[in-house]
Amino acid sequence: MTKENKKGMWLRRNDETKEAKNGWIVTAVSALLSCAMLILITTGLSGFGEIYSIYPILAAGAVLCIAYAAAFIYKKQNLFYMGLLFVLFLMVLVFGEQIIAGAGVFWNQLGNIYVERTGMMLPVFDVTEATRTALMIFSVFAGSVVALITCFVAEKKAVVLSVVIPGVLLLGMFWLKQTEMIVWFIPAIIISVLILLCGNWEKRKIKLSALIGWGMVAVVTAIFAAVSLNAGFMENALDYSENYKENQHKEKYETDYSTLPEGDFSGYKADSKSAHPALIVTAEKPETLYLRGFTGAVFENGRWQETDYKTLAENKDLLYWLNVNEFSPAAQFEAAVLEEEIEKNTITVQNIGACSGYYYIPFNLCDGKLLDENNLSTDSIKAEGERVYTFNVVSGGAQKITATLDAVKLSRDETVLDYRKAESAYRNYVTENYMDVPKEVMEMLGEHWNKTAGRKNPKELDFEHAQICTLEFLKKYFPEEGEKPEIELPLSALEDTSYQYATVAVMTLRYFGIPARYAEGYVVTEEMFDRTEEGNSVRVDSKSARAWAEVYQEGLGWIPMELTEGMGELLENPDKENSSQSTDENPNPEEGKELEDEPEAPTEEPLPDGGYMTKIKKAFMSSSMVMLIAALLLLIVIIIRREIIIKHKEEKFSDSDTSNAAAWIYGDTAVLLEQLGLRRGNGSMYSLAKDISEKFGEEYTEDFNEVTLLNSKAMFSSEKITAEEREKTLEFRTKTIEKIKENIKKPKQIWIKWIRCFY
C-alpha cells in the first residue's frame, strides 16, 4: 500500500454496499409516496376533487414513478427525464388549449375556496370551454409534472421532499385557512420521516427503531385524536383559541385605553366615569361625524359578528361585480350624491388610544385608498394597526340625506341609473343577510306584536310604518325614568348602555323588516370642534365611544339611525351610558351635552403622538421582557457550563491513578498561578519560587516547592503518588484559589470563575 492510499484507522458500518444496492427502491418509493402525497394535498386544498376525479392525476403520477424505478434499475434516469420532458412538450403542443382550460378550472376552484375561507377574491380565469376531456388531459399533464419533479428531487436530494411535503400542506392551510386539513399532517409527516430515515441523510445514524417509534407515535396520536374529538375537547380548544385570538388582537391593536367591546359583551364593563384618550380628529371643515369602527351583521351567542366568509363566498360574484363597478358599500353615500353636489371635506384621524384593528370612518366616506376591490367584506374595514390616516368625506353628509334620496329617486341621469342598478343588487344582498333575528327575540317581539297589532305580518309594513312601530317598541323597552319597561329586553347585558340600546334597536328594526346593523365607534360633533382651541383638531376620548344602529336606507346605504328620516325621535332616548355627566333630557351626541363636560380625571394626558407612544411603550416592554428572558437563559447556560467543566475536572482530580490525578491537579493549579501573574513561560516551575516568595510569603512557597516536586514524581517516576500526596496537591490548589480571591479584583474573579471556569 502506498503512502498516498493510507487513510489510517476506520470504524464504520458494514452494510453500506447493501444500502447502495437497494438505492433504487428507496428513491423510487420516496418519489412515489411524495408524488401521491403532493397530489392529494394540492387537490385537497384546492377542492379540485369536488369538480373532477383525482384518480387520473394520481394514476399519471404513479405510472411515471414506476417507469422511473425501471429506468433507475437500468441506470437510464437521464433518458427517463429527457423522454418525459419531450412527452410533456408534445402534450403542450397538441393539447395546449385543453391544458390551459383545465388549469383555469383548477385555478377558479382554488379561488372559490379562497373566497370562502378569507372573503378575498383571487383573479378569475376566464374559462369558457372546459370540458371533461380538458380536465382529464390537464390531470394527466399535472400528474406527470409532479412525478417528474418528485423523481428528480428524490434522486438528487431526497431530504428536500421531506420538507416540501409538510411545507406545501402548511402553507396551503395558512393561505386558504383550511384548518380541517390538519389531520393530513399525520400521513405527510410519516412520509417525510420515512424519506428522511430511508434516504441518504444521516444513513449511518438512524435505523429501523426510529421508524417503529414514529409508527407507534402515529398510532397513539390517531387514537388520542379520535378520543379527544368525542370528549368535548372541541369546546375547550375553541375557548383557548378564542382567548388567544382576543389576546392577540388586544396585543396588536389595542391600548390600555381602548374601550369599545367590538360586539362582544361577555365580561365587558363599560367605564363611563373616566375619560381615556382615543382619537385626534382633524377636519378641514368641522362637521358631525359618526366614525364607525366595528360593525356587526349577525348576533349570535350574545355577541355581534361580521358577515361570515361563507356568505361572502356565496355572493362573491355579486360583491366582486359591485366592487369592480366602483360600488363600495363603505362609500355608497358618495356614489349616491350627485357629482355636482359633492363638496369634499378632508378628515385626518390620529388613533392614539382606540383599537387600531379598524379604520374609524363615517357613512359619507369618499372612496379612497382604504378600500380594496378584492376584499369582498361588506362590514368593517380593517386598519391592521394603522394609526394615522386621511380620507375625504362628502361635506355635510347628514344634511344632504333627504336631498340626495330625492335626487336618486327622480334623476334619469345615466350615472344615477347605473348606481341605482348596483344599489338594487346590493339592497337584495342586504335584505337577505342583514335581517336575522335570534329565535327567542323573534318570539318575544312576536308575542308583544300580536297583543298590540293583531295578526298583521310585521314584515308587510311599509318603511314609514315600520319605523314608527320600531320607535314605539323602543319606547316600551326604554321607558321614562321610574317607569317599568313593558317588554323584556332581548339583551340584558350592558344594561342602560348604547351597546344594549343599539343591539335592541337593530333587532327591532329587523323584526319590522328594516335591514339594520350594529355599529360601534366615536361620535364627533360640530360643538366639539367649536370648543377646541386647536383649530380644526378635536381630541376624542372614550366618553364619545358608543354604539348605534345603522339602517339600510334604500338608495343611500348604511346611515346611522339618528340621521335617518323619521327616526329623529329616537335621539330623545336616554343614552345613559354617556349621560352620567350630561343631562338626561337630551343625550343626543349631536346636541353635545354629554361632551360638554370635562373629563373628571383623565388618567393620562393624550399626546399628539399618543398612538406611537403606546406602541413604543409596548415595544419597550416586549423587548425588555425578551432581553430579560435571554439574560436568564444565558445565566442558566453559564451555570450549567461551569458545573459540567468543574465536574469533569473533579473526575480527573479523583482519577484512580493517583499520579495522573496529582498531575492534573498541579496542571490546573499552574493555570491558577498564571492568573496571579505567575507565568512560567518555557522555563522550570521552580523559577517562580522567588516571585511567589515575594508575593505570598515563605509558607506558601514551601508548599509550592513541595507540590512541584510531587508533580515531577507523578510525571516521571515509576513510583506511584500516594493518596496523601494527592491530597497535599489538592490542598495547595485550594490555597491558590484563596489567594486569587484575596488578590484579584472582583470582575476578574467573576471572569475566571464563571467564564473561564478555572475553579
Binding site: 493510507k6 484507522m9 470504524l11 417525510s192 426510529a210 407515535v217 388520542f224 379527544s228
Partner: protein, 378 residues
C-alpha cells in the same frame, strides 16, 4: 437524531400554531400528546437503563488494510422496549494514538437482545482498542437521552507486515558467544551436539555418519549437528522522542518485528524490550522461539510512544542494566543521549528513521525501509 428532534419541534410548533389560530381541537390533542410523550418515555427509560448490558466482541488479529468485524451485543432485560439507543464507539490504535469514533443507533426489544456489527481496521499496525465512549437511551423522538455506564471493550491487533532482512552477527570480543543451549527446531553446525538422527540422503557428509547405529540397523544413519543458541542479543525500541508521524511509527514497528523474525530464523535467542512511556518503566521479554515472539507482538503493538519524557535508553541503563549484552539493536526515531551509556556495555547497532543522522547509525525512512534494511551487520 437531529432529524427526529427537528421533526418533533416542527410538528409541535405546527400543532400549537394551528390550535392557537384556528382552535382546532385535533391540533391541541396532537400538541399535548407530542409534549407528553418524551418525558413519559424518559421516566420509563430511567428504569430500563439499569437493565441494559452491552458487550463487544471482535476478531483478534487483522492484516494491515483488512477490515474486521466488531460485534456489539446489547441485551435488554426489562419488559419495556427502548425506541432509540445511541452508542458512541471509540477505536484507538494504542501504538500510534490514532483515534476514530463512530455512532451506532439501534433499538432494543423488550426482554431481548440486539446485535450490531461494525467494521474496523487500519492501514497501520498496532493494537486497536474498541470501547464504548458513551451510551445513551432516548425517548421515541430522540429528544431526552439518558446515559449509562458501559465498560465493554474489545481488542483487535493489526499485525505488522514483515520484510526480508539478513542480520550478520559478528563476534564481540568483549562477550562470549558460547552457549550450552541448542535449538530444538533447526540443525546447526556444532558437531559436538546432535540435533537429530535420520537416514542418510545423498549429499550428507561422511563425517555425519553414525557408524555405530548404522551397523546396528543395517543401513546408513547420519547425525545432524545442533545449532547453539546464543542469548547475547538485545533488540530495544526507543519509544521516547517520537514525532507522532504514523508512517514512521509503522516503519519502526515493522522493522523491529522483521529484525526479530530474522534473528529467530537464525535460531538466535534474544531479548526484546521497549519503554512504557505512560508508566516510565522498561519492558523486556526473553524470546526463544516463534510462539513466544507471537505472544510478544501483541504487547509491542500497544507500546505507546511519547515526544518527551524519560528516555527508554536511560531507563534501561538505570533500571535494567542486567539486560545489556554484547549485541544491542537500538531502534528509534531520534536517538536519546543515554544511548551512549548502552554503548559502554556492548555493540549498539542503531537503526534510526528520524531526521537527525548519526555516525555509525543505519538510517532508514518510512518509504524505503525495506530496501534500506535488507542487510544489517551487528
Amino acid at each position: 437524531m437531529i432529524a427526529m428532534k427537528l421533526c418533533w419541534l416542527i410538528l409541535e410548533g405546527i400543532f400549537v400554531l394551528f390550535f392557537l389560530y384556528f382552535g382546532s381541537s385535533t391540533a391541541f390533542a396532537l400538541a399535548l400528546l407530542l409534549l407528553l410523550l418524551p418525558p413519559v418515555n424518559t421516566l420509563i427509560n430511567l428504569f430500563v437503563k439499569k437493565k441494559i448490558k452491552v458487550s463487544l466482541n471482535s476478531e483478534p488479529n487483522l492484516r494491515k488494510g483488512e477490515s474486521g468485524e466488531v460485534e456489539i451485543i446489547i441485551k435488554n432485560n426489562s419488559v419495556f422496549p427502548v425506541f432509540h439507543m445511541g452508542i458512541k464507539l471509540l477505536a484507538e490504535n494504542q501504538l500510534n494514538g490514532q483515534k476514530s469514533e463512530h455512532n451506532v443507533s439501534t433499538w432494543l426489544p423488550s426482554k431481548g437482545k440486539q446485535t450490531e456489527t461494525i467494521n474496523t481496521g487500519s492501514d497501520y499496525c498496532g493494537r486497536i482498542k474498541v470501547s464504548v465512549k458513551r451510551a445513551r437511551i432516548y425517548d421515541c423522538f430522540g429528544i431526552i437521552g439518558i446515559g449509562f455506564k458501559c465498560n465493554a471493550k474489545a481488542y483487535v491487533t493489526v499485525q505488522p507486515d514483515t520484510f526480508e532482512t539478513i542480520i550478520n552477527l559478528s563476534p564481540n570480543s568483549r562477550a562470549l558467544d558460547e552457549s550450552d543451549i541448542y535449538s530444538q527446531e533447526k540443525a546447526g553446525d556444532d558437531l559436538t551436539e546432535i540435533y537429530q538422527i535420520r537416514e542418510y540422503v545423498p549429499g550428507d557428509s561422511p563425517r555425519q555418519v553414525h557408524w555405530k547405529l548404522s551397523n546396528k540397523f543395517g543401513k546408513l544413519i547420519v547425525k545432524e549437528p545442533a545449532l547453539p543458541i546464543t542469548r547475547n542479543v538485545l533488540v530495544f525500541w526507543e519509544r521516547t522522542g517520537e514525532s507522532g508521524n504514523l508512517d514512521i511509527i509503522d516503519a519502526q514497528a515493522e522493522t523491529i518485528v522483521s529484525v526479530c523474525k530474522s534473528l529467530l530464523d537464525q535460531s538466535i535467542q534474544f531479548t526484546i524490550g521497549w519503554n512504557d512511556t505512560d508508566r516510565n518503566i522498561c519492558i523486556l521479554h526473553e524470546v526463544s522461539d516463534m510462539d513466544k515472539f507471537i505472544g510478544v507482538i501483541t504487547r509491542i503493538m500497544r507500546a505507546t510512544g511519547a515526544k518527551e519524557g524519560v528516555s527508554g535508553a536511560g531507563l534501561l541503563v538505570q533500571t535494567r542494566p542486567e539486560a545489556l549484552c554484547a549485541h544491542m539493536i537500538y531502534i528509534a526515531e531520534e536517538p536519546q543521549s543515554e544511548v551512549t551509556a548502552m554503548q559502554g556495555e556492548g555493540n549498539v547497532s542503531m537503526l534510526l528513521c528520524g531526521k537527525t543522522p548519526l555516525d555509525g547509525a543505519l538510517m532508514f525512512d518510512s518509504e524505503h525501509y525495506e530496501q534500506q534494511l535488507s542487510q544489517i551487520d551487528l
